[in-house]
Symmetry: C2
Subunit: 287 residues, 2 copies
Amino acid sequence: MHQLNGGDVDSLIQPRIAAAPRSAYFVSDSTGVTAETLGNALLANFPGIGFQRHTVPFVDTVAGAQNVVRDVRAAAAAGLAPIVFATVKSAQIFSEIDSSGAVVIDLLGGHLRELEAALGSSASEQLGQFHGVGDIEKYFARMRAVEYAIEHDDGQSMRALDLADVIIVAPSRCGKTPTTMYLALQYGLLVANYPLTDDDFPSDGLPRTVSPYLGRCFGLTTTPLRLSQVRHERRPNSTYSSLAQCTLELRRAEDLYRRNRVPFLNSSTKSVEEMSAVIMQSMRLRS
Amino acid sequence: MHQLNGGDVDSLIQPRIAAAPRSAYFVSDSTGVTAETLGNALLANFPGIGFQRHTVPFVDTVAGAQNVVRDVRAAAAAGLAPIVFATVKSAQIFSEIDSSGAVVIDLLGGHLRELEAALGSSASEQLGQFHGVGDIEKYFARMRAVEYAIEHDDGQSMRALDLADVIIVAPSRCGKTPTTMYLALQYGLLVANYPLTDDDFPSDGLPRTVSPYLGRCFGLTTTPLRLSQVRHERRPNSTYSSLAQCTLELRRAEDLYRRNRVPFLNSSTKSVEEMSAVIMQSMRLRS
């Protein structure tokens, strides 16, 4: 199983873990994504503590809440001193969860009251339900964006390249594909990506296929060591993954970006989310 | 531009908008994803109000905060009564933003104090920075998952199908691809998807390629009307998009799921996030 939300990073740095492990519950009346996202961002500030994470989505009944309370109490009995992050809108369901005796952090209710006061309007009854006219539009746009990203991954197709919001260029294994897919899924952007290969050098310009879209190109680079690590995953002990080859390709790519005024980013210490945010900011794709 | 985070749904349902438009700022010292996710989940409860959304990532200096304050005050002057959702860890930067005079909702700081008290430990200095040993591991797993999803999209490859955490089966246009990609990117799951075509009927069993992995198959269905709408997007006025054909294909698919005890889900009123959460819960892919 390859489940990796941000938080699992903690479990991957066991050596640093000092304090006793605790359990963290992300309880939501919807998908749990919001609870996981903010909960993990908060837990990331306590790298010294190991957390056993549990996400419980669709807790939208008192009975559902009572099941959560049972689990949380069991974890407490097992000495795992649970922390519960809740995004449930119903005050009744929340108080049920709150009765577990664990530390329950209300990520939603309090802010919802703040908003109601600020907006002088009371919250509607469908939390996080985007099932109106806009929904199918959003669905179409996301589907189009993901299919566009798949079609245009790794320079596979040049069809409708003029529709691209961004064209990510970089040597192999610098992070083009996950970043492309994240921008498509999270923001519905049309993103193509194009690999810089030996064939593209020593030309001083961008590869002919993408050069007409210079203004939409964004480059990725990384450190030779990181690139060598990543390539080693795919082809151990190959020229392709050698430090010398990685150093050469990255230097050529960065020269190309500079010569052509292509904005670029070093991906070696950035998450896919961070790269996407930087790209959107740099390309002014975010209002 | 096809930027579509959850909130843009509001802007797509203009006809329902009654109250005066307001501006909503998502201000973060990191990517802004957390601020957008929770902020939009909160705003979704006020469908009657139109929001002009602005995300400002990487606000990690007082100077950066002062720029935000300038923009927020300009929006206020323009009569857009701003709401600011902030995920900034530094108390100094937060109070700078708070000085804008707008309604500023602190999505992080308060909860961070709660957590510090609960955990008897003080927050580290690297909010949301997953740049330790775990980072490259997480990066590899996500990259593998996204590449696996691309390789196995729409039954293109049967290679290493035995590694799949889930195999999504459904007729064309029921939502296999975006859901597959979301599970790969958000959770690092290895997800294949396989289209049910006329060739797979009238056989009573699952398609031969996936039948060995029956236990990992999850089916999607939708309503004939929705499927016809979605297919119409791709091939207007075709047999493929006709209501009759959609009705037939969905009935056959649902019969197939039932006969083979394949868990399935109607995607017609669900977001990609919701479908993913249901699939993970049903396949026990979430702790």
